[in-house]
């Protein structure tokens, strides 16, 4: 595209763009390119060892990677839809005319205010086998309880539960704001037309919430891959990598195993997943979203 503007205006434009461009380049684009470069040209902590595909060959053979990838995908596939549906349900509820809805809204939003580390510590107390809240409650019903974080079959599920608890309240705020932006006239018109609650929800509320849903969906997926703080507190990826997620595995490789080359390869994988998601979301779904 050729810009038809005088030279001094072009300089202004570039000057105005400069701070954002500099920050984006320094902390996003250059590291990305460097990571890609290093994934092909380094080995362990050594750089510039010449072009090699060894790092990628190792990736394919790495059983832990495949488990971590599957964990991450499951983690996203469960936490994203569940927390979004919960968020929508809570928003619809606290948007109605109910007593104490301000208190309720606040209660739902509280988990979002807390840092992930704090949340993880609270939930550590819930999950602890001997003195934990959950097992105590199960104990009242004569159940011996579960090893929530120690059982490989259960630990990823436990993490998902906590994530949903943390995320749903955050997404609820977006849905609530969007719901309050929908004109009451639409609902009155629908009521006059004899539309049932379910029909109104399906044919009016949900379509009008689609822009919000898309926004929340993108954020939810990014968070699912981005949030690993709780792993440091709760499981450290264990037991036997049952709860290891991609970003945490990258961290482990880079800073615990000091294998920067392999960490770069894993980062490329993570970036690829996010790019595919972004293309899908903006390319496919956005076309079906109605923007006012």
């Amino acid at each position: 595209m050729k810009l038809n503007m005088p030279r001094h205006q072009q300089i202004y434009a570039w000057l105005l763009l400069f701070p954002a461009l500099a920050l984006l380049a320094a902390f996003t684009h250059i590291p990305m390119i460097k990571t890609l470069w290093r994934s092909f040209t380094s080995s362990g902590m050594q750089n510039n060892t010449g072009f090699t595909l060894d790092n990628y060959r190792y990736l394919l053979e790495d059983d832990v990677f495949w488990q971590v990838l599957s964990n991450s995908l499951w983690y996203a596939a469960v936490t994203v839809p569940v927390s979004m549906i919960l968020a929508l349900a809570m928003a619809l509820w606290v948007n109605g005319k109910i007593r104490g809805r301000s208190a309720l809204r606040l209660a739902y939003f509280t988990p979002t205010i807390l840092p992930m580390i704090t949340v993880a510590n609270i939930w550590l107390f819930f999950y602890t086998p001997e003195i934990g809240l959950f097992n105590n409650i199960l104990g009242w019903f004569g159940h011996s309880g579960y090893n929530w974080l120690g059982d490989p079959d259960l630990s990823l599920f436990s993490l998902m539960l906590m994530t949903i608890w943390k995320e749903a309240g955050f997404f609820m705020i977006f849905y609530l704001a969007a719901l309050q932006g929908i004109s009451r006239d639409f609902y009155q018109a629908a009521a006059i037309e004899g539309s049932s609650r379910w029909t109104t929800l399906r044919r009016i509320t949900l379509p009008l919430l689609m822009p919000t849903t898309l926004f929340v969906l993108i954020n939810a997926f990014l968070n699912a891959f981005k949030l690993v703080d709780h792993l440091f507190i709760l499981t450290k990826g264990g037991p036997n990598n049952a709860t290891n997620l991609l970003l945490y595995y990258i961290y482990e490789n880079a800073f615990s195993f000091f294998d920067a080359a392999y960490a770069s390869v894993l980062t490329v994988v993570l970036l690829s997943i996010l790019v595919v998601l972004a293309v899908f979301q903006f390319g496919v779904i956005e076309r079906r979203v109605h923007y006012r």
Binding site: S183, D185, F186, Q188, A189, A190, A191, I192, E193, G194, S195, S196, T199, R203, I204, P207, L208, M210, H290, R292
Partner: protein, 342 residues
Amino acid sequence: MSFLNIQGLSKQWADTRVVEDINFEICEGEFIALLGPSGCGKSTTLKMIAGLETPTAGNVILNGQNITNRTPGQRQLSMVFQSYALFPHLSVKENIVFGLKARKVPVNERNKRLRHAVELVNLGDQINKKPSELSGGQCQRVALARAIVSQAPLCLMDEPLSNLDTKLRNEMRTEIRALQKQLGLTVLYVTHDQVEAMSMADRIILLNAGRIEQMGSPQALYNEPASSFVARFIGHPPMSLMTRDKHLIGIRPEHITLCKSGYSEGIATHNPNKNPNNNASVIHCDYHGADTLISVDFQGSALMLSLQGHHLFQAGHPLAITWESQHEHYFSAKTGLRTANL
């Protein structure tokens, strides 16, 4: 038997009474305008009839059935909103048949009604567009079509034309009235615009502060205003009122003339200072094209008169005005109610 019967309808918000004990009856096929200044409770009344607001007291009886406690969808009425309330994500067609789908009307019947309604409101080429691609007037037509396809015997309209420009408003006024007659609809039409009410309605219900001030034909409201409020509200410009003892005397601007003696030589050339009949002085002139509105000070009261043509007098210019006593309206100064002429 009356078609719609409103009995003692009231609405109270906390301590404020928005609508107080409203009673009226409408016959089938009538076009009724609910007229009043903003905040008089006309929209609230309409919404209570529609079931969108719950009345504090009173009954709504439609076709002999008490529908006060029914949901809006069960009341067999349609409504046109001021904002049109068209669903922005649905096409014109889907907007129009929304209610029919919700009520599970069979496809054949649905399409038949859709074609009919689209033809009536002249929307043929637009039915696959989204509301955002339509002009205000076209949106209004979609809203009308949505009301028509429901085939509800009673149609409520809440200031449907107030978002349109003047020219379009005049066109739609004629069109809505023609549609109403053609389909035999019973229409209850809320407006704050007396021109709409006067030109469209069979009868007008004039509301003030939550009460019915007067109900009757447009001529009745114009010729025999029941109270000083009606007198001040109806007419453009409205009636001028003067206080005399315990009465208010009202006279319409078009009934005030200049004295014959002052008229003989033509107004512009007449030398006003020598006219012995001078009894008023000009305060302000407002030129409207066909006529000029002149406010004058007449024995301490402000009166409005309208003269044909262009007249611009200086403030303080003396005039000799008169009117026939048959055009005087008398109201009690205390209650504001109409009293017999003295």
